[in-house]
Symmetry: C2
Subunit: 667 residues, 2 copies
């Protein structure tokens, strides 16, 4: 059976071979029990503070130093500001101005997407970046509004309050939703529940983002075609019907101008992608388009020929909006719902972006602290006429490519936006809306990640289905439906992962002590009279009864198969527990019941390779006693060798189905 090298090992451990002594010492020891409070504290820490966030605080001695360390923890800028030098500032200045030139046109565009006054896009690029610069720990995140969350705010609030008929209420609800989004985000961080964001799987996000981008592009057809009336639905069918039912309303001026700018923007992006050093071309393109478009309209008076323009923008900094927050019943729930949903979406993007760039530059991001920073920035934003902001991927990438060194680039962007608000807003009077549509479309096309979808298809078909489901849900249903589909599929997958762990039959690879999956390794051979099963997951309440039934069925299958071939059916079932990381009381009960059931069928259960955690639980639940410590082995090979020894010493009289009663005679 090839177990000789394993036998040697066992001798090393216990000083005795199998079957040589009358009662061998336990081969797998039960680890010593630790006090409950110790393990409880350790578990609590591992669960909620796995990153040990306060280690820098605890390390300090004395109250003053600890307070300073805590302050540094919550306001990371205190850490880098003392050593901040002119060289770094030069880099931050360049990148800050670059992202400001992107932030201004994008801000105006996305505010339109949320059916909010365009000026809100500028306000939202002024206060939140300042807050983030103080509290955020990412050096590369560029703060701003995002298209998908803007669209969601527009569609969720717009479903109950019309932005055209009741603009004041709509605006106040947008602030209130932002407030609740911020509170929710910060609470997740404070309660250290940041892991909830991880339950939006990567595949679901790829599909959802691509779907949302498609939907946003479709919405831009209104601006591109110069239509005045448009469907309020976002699904492909409604939009197409709306577009093609009014072909006579299409304005060729709008179409020409829009296509021209879109082509220009895509071209610059193409160049920048080919040569990353030319990133500034695509970064400056939106502002260039806005300037070009405005000048063109101003010179040709195209606003009188069917080209819609932004119009009057108020000069001045953000007005306070604390008193506008709406906490009265009928609408508050709408704001809470919108806030939580858009807040999660925004958070997922912000955290993912922060993490990716931290990985590139090899520094550490504390997810929960980031949530507190993003949440605070939105709460303060909602007090100062800003709507939902996060760290958009495109802008952060530009920031990174422009060579930003610290969060100071956000401060520079904020200052540039301030100057714009104070002095330059009249310049946007003649900016044609169609240019904004082109800017949004070109940004959105970048969010559709074909290579990622192809990768999913190649590596994991189920992940691809999740991705496609989310995409189709958004495009043919609505953004909310797509989100629900994405979350539902993700959670269902987790539950299925958990509830349906894989069990496999292992076979011996001839001339070795290795046991491998029979369905995957053609050379693996079943051992006569012994069924080796491997459980690939922790055993606990969510899968215990499934596992019990599945193991029974493996045994039934084995008996059917061996009966058909007139071979010896399994007298021993060896469970390879190598992949069973932990077990709870339902799991130990399951083993207890399994042992009793198999006893009635005359089959001996043998455990191989259980971890120390599992051994402890088996011991305290008395299942260890029930199974018998002598039936637990450190490896499958040793377990099988022992079973083989017992079987052979009774061979060949002991036929199928009879109990392995020989056991008592030997140990």
């Amino acid at each position: 059976m090839g177990g000789s090298s394993e036998e040697n090992k066992k001798k090393n451990v216990n000083g005795s071979g199998a079957g040589e002594t009358m009662r061998a010492a336990p081969r797998v020891p039960v680890p010593e029990a630790r006090p409950f409070l110790d393990t409880f504290r350790a578990n609590l820490k591992e669960t909620f503070f796995p990153d040990d966030p306060f280690r820098s605080v605890v390390r300090e001695r004395g109250f003053g130093r600890r307070a300073m360390a805590a302050l540094r923890y919550f306001f990371p800028f205190l850490e880098w500001i003392p050593s901040y030098r002119l060289g770094a500032f030069k880099s931050d200045l360049i990148s800050g101005i670059t992202i400001a030139s992107l932030a201004i046109p994008q801000g105006i565009s996305y505010a339109k997407l949320a059916n909010l006054p365009p000026i809100l896009g500028l306000y939202s690029s002024f206060v939140p970046p300042l807050v983030y610069a103080m509290m955020g720990s990412s050096r590369d995140l560029a703060v701003g509004t995002v298209a998908v969350a803007s669209l969601l705010i527009g569609s969720m609030l717009g479903a109950e309050v019309s932005p055209t008929e009741n603009p004041a209420l709509y605006l106040h609800l947008a602030f209130t939703a932002t407030f609740f989004a911020g509170v929710f985000q910060a609470s997740l961080g404070i309660l250290r529940l940041g892991f909830i964001v991880d339950f939006l799987s990567h595949a679901a996000i790829v599909g959802f983002m691509a779907g949302a981008a498609t939907v946003v592009c479709l919405q831009q057809l209104k601006g591109m075609l110069g239509l005045e009336h448009f469907t309020t639905s976002t699904d492909l069918v409604s939009v197409m019907r709306s577009v093609f039912s009014q072909t006579h309303q299409w304005r060729w001026e709008s179409v020409v101008l829009g296509s021209g700018f879109l082509f220009f923007l895509l071209l610059t992006r193409f160049f920048s992608k080919r040569r990353p050093k030319l990133f500034w071309i695509s970064a400056a393109a939106p502002l260039t388009s806005v300037i070009l478009g405005s000048v063109l309209v101003y010179l040709t008076h195209a606003e009188n020929h069917g080209i819609q323009i932004i119009g009057y923008l108020k000069k001045g900094l953000n007005p306070l909006s604390v008193t506008s927050l709406n906490f009265t019943p009928p609408y508050m729930m709408l704001a809470v719902k919108t806030g939580i949903i858009t807040g999660v979406i925004a958070l997922a993007e912000g955290i993912a972006v922060g993490r990716s760039f931290a990985m590139f530059k090899n520094y550490h991001i504390d997810g929960n602290k980031e949530m507190i920073a993003i949440g605070t920035m939105n709460v303060l934003g909602s007090f100062t006429s800003c709507y939902l902001t996060t760290g958009p991927f495109s802008r952060s990438a530009v920031n990174y490519n422009a060579g930003c060194k610290t969060a100071m680039s956000n401060v520079v962007m904020s200052a540039a936006v301030m100057v714009t608000l104070l002095f330059l807003t009249p310049l946007f009077h003649y900016t044609p809306l169609v240019v904004l549509s082109a800017i949004i479309m070109s940004a959105m096309l970048g969010l559709i990640d074909f290579p990622a979808a192809a990768h999913l298809w190649r590596v994991d078909k189920v992940d691809f289905c999740v991705c496609a489901g989310a995409y189709l849900g958004v495009v043919f249903g609505s953004v909310e439906l797509g989100l629900v589909v994405a979350v539902a599929i993700s959670v269902l997958r987790v539950l299925l992962f958990v509830a349906r762990p894989r069990t496999t039959v292992l076979g011996n690879v001839p001339d070795t002590a290795m046991y491998r999956r029979m369905d995957q390794y053609a050379t693996a051979r079943a051992v006569p009279g012994v069924l080796v099963l491997r459980v690939d997951s922790p055993i606990y309440f969510a899968n215990a009864s499934y596992l019990r039934e599945r193991i029974s069925r493996w045994i039934d299958d084995d008996q059917e198969r061996t009966a058909a071939k007139a071979e010896m059916s399994a007298q021993y079932v060896v469970l390879d527990m190598g992949a069973v990381g932990s077990i709870d009381t339902s799991g130990t009960s399951m083993l207890d019941e399994l042992k009793k059931t198999l006893d009635r069928r005359g089959i001996q259960i043998v455990l191989a390779n259980p971890g120390s955690e599992v051994m402890k639980k088996l011991d305290s639940s008395k299942v260890l006693e029930l199974i018998g410590h002598e039936w637990i082995f450190p490896t499958v090979a040793e377990a099988v060798a022992e079973c083989g020894f017992v079987l052979h010493s009774h061979k060949p009289g002991m036929a199928m189905g009879s109990a392995p009663s020989g056991h008592e005679n030997i140990v």
Copy 2:
């Protein structure tokens, strides 16, 4: 390092030792790819049809035989009825009459608990058992109403419709809720989503049931003390306030009678528990109490002295109630909500009971088919004036102890109840309510499972907290709150299980090739320059980013520790993938990123013992290429031996922190 036996094994596999050849063949092969549709079909089957329910149908040849097999599948009584003999019927007759004697008083009592007319308890023991006898696959389940679901129906419906002011609407809503409960139960079975019931963990159920039993007992104080007014809340504080605020209303007649019967019932239970053969004593006790109580009241005219009685019960079988079902908007949602919640509770109990007894007698129960049976029985019940039924534990245990052989005992019970309905209902006219209270209390006290709670405390403290949380939620909040707490804690536990897998540092057990957890095995020693980490769960989207950060922190910790002791810090990180059952695209991306991060820190990543599934995913995602197939080993010992070889051949010049650049020189 003691890896010699492992070295031998590797020689056996590859025919070459480590480092002997210039470029060793891959030590861990990638299994051959299988067609997508094959694996997809296999996965689908494993997930939704793990028990292969239709194997008996598919095995038959010809349409007629297959149809018969399918019919036998859905109506299991067709399987045993042809071979049903008089001997079995005798056993079923005895057990059927025994459970009927229990069902009649319990049915009346529980209907009172749900604020429904007592006669409904008898109706509900007539039709549903007949349906179950045809469709159910358990031989031991005794069908009937249960206390907890009755209480829940009472409190959920009672919160919106008063059973005293609007009894007709209340009654119709109870039927409607039963209808939806049945539809929901059957749908779960048909959609093969039965695994959802498994997410109510055993610990949560123990706590919830004990809490519900406590609450039901508290409610009985009304009957026991003979109070006319009582709080509608179920929590401990309200009930106690209600009881002690009207001490002057307590009726001593009621208290004496109730305590006497409760004592009698508990005494008989005690006897039956001591001697299982005397099960019939406790089984017959409730009916005896009812008869004794009725006779007593009849003779003493105690109904005129403050003893409340059942009063008039209509003679005759179940009237049809199809037309009473209420599908109009305001109340339908209430019925749907009540139906789904009570349906799940009832289902969980029914399935658990069926499974336990099937295990005792060593036959198989198909969970999904059981759900269809229980669901159908409730749908048909709702058409015939029955309310929610399932397989209560206490009654099924009596059935089992009485020696039932098949579901025929349910038919016998049904017949006995029919006779009662047709001829005997007037006999219950004088039955005092206080006896019913005593019957309920004695049944409920049996549901509080102290040994189970003690077992939880001993084996798993977290499970105990779940149990205690559910209990306290029910007792101090409400039954619904307790249920929400139980489900929320259970789901949060699953999510935490999934999101926070354990990673541990392994050390070498001296003089062996074994690697064990350093925190558990005092003898395990760290290998200088090599950090061995074990991941105890599948790697996928829900835990990938956590794992990346946790692994980074292990490395940071290692560097801090070694820097403090001036030892060599880890140049190699060996990930023991033995417990990683599967990996998805987020998982492979995580490894990809980890590899790149560690490269930047000058650390080589090495994988040990990956399963074939994992190898396939690593290969198709190109992560295998990135890490290098030569850095993947079948065991930790081999991986460490290889790292040690590289380290030693450069020893001792290569200091801390520098890249293990020696790698290229060797392979």
